[in-house]
């Protein structure tokens, strides 16, 4: 299963892009990355789910935990790019009432009043491929 996390910085916001499925096997990696970001003093996070094709309650729970960590350090977390079926889960669970969802990154940047062009990668993409089950 392909799962990757990529972080870039934009005007003080960390843009954390997730690729793959967000569930029991992968969500801990997202949690670990958020803990690292917030621990490093970056508590303003844009979580880009454009390339996430599946989320379940474990993935949603990690997003809630990430929001708590960000706000606990005086920051915030917003979600961008969620596909319709992913967005529907935020709505069904009423998480859309506590987490701001934006259709895409430019809309979020405009709404958050983040100005300036381009983003600056802060590290290399982490491309983690889980071995196929061997029975």
């Amino acid at each position: 299963m392909l799962f990757a996390l990529e972080v870039s910085m934009h005007q003080g916001w960390a843009i954390l892009a997730v690729v793959g499925e967000l569930e029991l096997a992968t969500a801990p990696r997202l949690r670990q990355r958020v803990v690292g970001l917030v621990g490093d003093g970056c508590a303003h996070i844009i979580l880009d789910l454009t390339h996430v094709d599946f989320v379940d309650s474990v993935g949603l729970g990690v997003v809630v935990g990430a929001l708590k960590r960000a706000r606990g350090r005086g920051g915030d977390l917003v979600v961008v790019g969620a596909a319709d079926r992913v967005r529907a889960l935020f709505e069904l669970t009423r998480l859309d009432e506590i987490i701001a969802l934006f259709a895409d990154l430019p809309l979020a940047l405009a709404e958050l009043d983040v100005v300036g062009a381009g983003t600056e990668p802060v590290d290399e993409p982490v491309d983690e491929r889980t071995d196929q089950p061997d029975g």
């Binding site: 299963m1 499925e21 569930e23 029991l24 096997a25 599946f54 379940d56 309650s57 474990v58 949603l60 729970g61 990690v62 809630v64 935990g65 929001l67 708590k68 706000r71 079926r85 889960l89 069904l92 669970t93 009423r94 998480l95 009432e97 506590i98 889980t130 071995d131 089950p133």
Partner: protein, 144 residues
């Protein structure tokens, strides 16, 4: 269609395989709507995640069993584990987003999601294991 039966080790890396097999079984019936298969993937993920977590204290050789039966109108899935069981009563409601400690709750969404997205959901749990029976219809049932 006959029964499709899958046994998996209780390990997180097999969760995706469980979703793939059940979704592929449903897709055999070409009239199953895509959004229904999306619902099916979520509810299977929730039930199988619970089963994997229920096996945390068991021998790693203990398997989780997933059975599917498909017909023209619906798919029935049963996820069976050998964990120590749990009391499902009181777990049906989505956490209120306005409760002051909402952000402290990273769990508690699985059973409510399962109840909302499956057309039928039955949880039988005891000290020797849990069986979750889920039914997803080919088309959504009309809103009541």
């Amino acid at each position: 269609m006959g029964e499709v039966r899958l046994e998996i080790p209780a390990r997180a890396e097999y969760l995706g395989l469980a979703r793939q097999v059940v979704a592929a079984a449903a897709a055999i019936e070409s009239t199953f709507r895509d959004e229904r298969i999306d619902d099916l993937r979520v509810v299977v993920s929730e039930a199988t995640t619970n089963a994997i977590e229920a096996h945390a204290d068991l021998d790693r050789d203990e398997r989780i069993v997933i059975r599917c039966n498909l017909d023209a109108e619906q798919i029935e899935v049963e996820v069976v584990d050998r964990g120590s069981g749990f009391d499902p009563s009181g777990l049906d409601a989505m956490p209120d987003p306005e409760r002051p400690d909402r952000l402290a709750l990273e769990s508690g969404l699985g059973i409510p999601l399962l109840r909302v997205l499956a057309d039928e959901a039955e949880i039988r749990s005891g000290e020797h294991g849990t069986a979750v029976r889920l039914v997803v219809y080919r088309v959504p049932r009309p809103a009541s």
